[in-house]
């Protein structure tokens, strides 16, 4: 459903995505793996149209998204819910105001129902009691759960999670991983794209995995393909060793 066709992205002299082609299927949980700085966040910002490719095109549901004008782009984005890597909560708004924000902007439901929905999604991320707090009073783990609640509020067709469990303790991580699976199981139409370093979670949760390396796809397939891969880069990523073909710079 989402296709990258020969996408290149450069910042100044630095090439982050290098002739990248990939496919993200509809209705599944796709994990995007890759080491830090590999361009994972850049990749999903391209999907949202928050960044534009230097070359190549991105097709979503058969449409080239770089051809959208501002108005079309806004309409297109309503299909998505996105959790940002650093949560990106509005720090002048309370937790409740943050989560209700997309509902108020686009929703047509009465205010009472909006508040019910806010309670519901905050319950889902395990933070029912913090509605009146402000982002600067929260830990990074809590912020990200609020960000997740905000992304879920509109019940989007496509969910993008940028490192949903980074900065959380093992128990909460587990809970969030289960939540991703649950949300996806509850809606067979929903496409989930998860960026992660967490291999264990990827193998347990993913239905499809894409591993990025040097701006290209190193390997893509189901978890078993990764378990049995003999590719040196994939093996090194799995073993977590510093020695190997992967360069850290």
């Amino acid at each position: 459903m989402i296709y990258f066709e020969h996408v290149t992205k450069t910042f100044g002299k630095k090439t982050v995505l290098d002739d990248l082609s990939l496919h993200i299927p509809k209705g599944k949980i796709t994990f995007i793996l890759g080491k830090s700085g590999e361009g994972k966040s850049v990749t999903i910002k391209h999907i949202m149209g928050l960044m534009k490719p230097t070359a190549g095109k991105i097709m979503v549901d058969g449409e080239d998204i770089s051809l959208f004008d501002q108005h079309g782009l806004m309409a297109y984005r309503k299909k998505f819910g996105m959790l940002f890597q650093h949560a990106a909560l509005f720090d002048s708004l309370s937790v409740c105001e943050n989560v209700i924000f997309p509902l108020k902007e686009h929703g047509t439901m009465p205010l009472v129902e909006m508040h019910e929905r806010v309670d519901e999604v905050l319950e889902m991320v395990g933070l029912p009691e913090i509605k009146q707090k402000f982002p600067n009073q929260l830990s990074i783990g809590e912020k990200k759960r609020v960000g997740l609640a905000r992304a879920l509020a509109m019940a989007p067709k496509i969910m993008l999670y940028d490192e949903p469990t980074t900065g959380m303790d093992p128990l909460v991580s587990e809970m969030i991983d289960e939540l991703i699976t649950e949300v996806n199981a509850g809606n067979p139409e929903l496409t989930s794209i998860v960026i992660s370093h967490d291999l264990k979670a990827a193998l347990a949760t993913a239905e499809n995995i894409i591993m990025l390396y040097k701006g290209k796809v190193a390997l893509t397939g189901i978890p078993d393909d990764f378990r049995h891969s003999h590719d040196a880069v994939v093996r090194q990523f799995f073993s977590g060793r510093v020695e190997g073909p992967m360069e850290f710079l």
Binding site: L50, M74, K78, F84, L89, S92, H106
Partner: protein, 266 residues
Amino acid sequence: MSSYIRNKSTLLFSVLGLRIIKGVSRFGAFLLFCWETVKHVFRRPYRFELIAQQIEFIGAQSLNIVIMTGFFTGAVFGLQLGGIFKIFSSEAMLGGATGKALTRELAPLMVAFLTAGRSGSAMTAEISTMNVTEQVDAMEAMAVEPLSYLAVPRLVASVIVFPLLTIIFIFIGVIGSYVIAVSLFDVDVGLFLDKIVWLVEPKDIRDGLIKSVIFSVIVAFIACHSGLHATGGAKGVGIATTNAVVTMLLMVLASDFLVTYLQVRW
């Protein structure tokens, strides 16, 4: 030797040319930004609540300082002019002269300077912080137009608040000069007021308020534009904010000259 000089001057010209092209294209981009923002003013959703918040923010933040500055500006002007008018034994003119100067020039300009320093900088800092921490991206990701949510309320609020503050500044300034006139130059109260009414015409008030609206637009546009284009973390926020305030002050002064020229000539 001559080819060396020619090369050097070509280099100079090409560097200069490049600078000019860059400057012009940046100014063009800025104008485009302004135009887009103006279009959003008239487009749904109308964000009355946010506008009210911004009015309160700008107004409340700048009111005290506008009152204080207004009083002292009027008083100092009264002192300076009083000394001159005394030579001609026409101290009663003091009120009129101060009133005229305040209305046409000092009030709109001082209000723009004070508000640029107080609220313009705060606006830039707030928006650029949102920008470098991806809050603006998040807003776009939720299909909300940052121009409509962030820029429009600040623009509209500025256009409303600047003239109001200008009027307050004039009023307080006149009181300041009145205190000086009565206490130091023994001017009669009735005469003082008479001369103001005689010298300050409705046209002066109109011209002053037009200036104030123009300054408000300049401050708001520069604040929002700098904020939405800030990059590079906390340091970037600092750079964007100082640059924005300097640009605001220069642009306000330049446009003040232009507008005054047009107003005086026509």
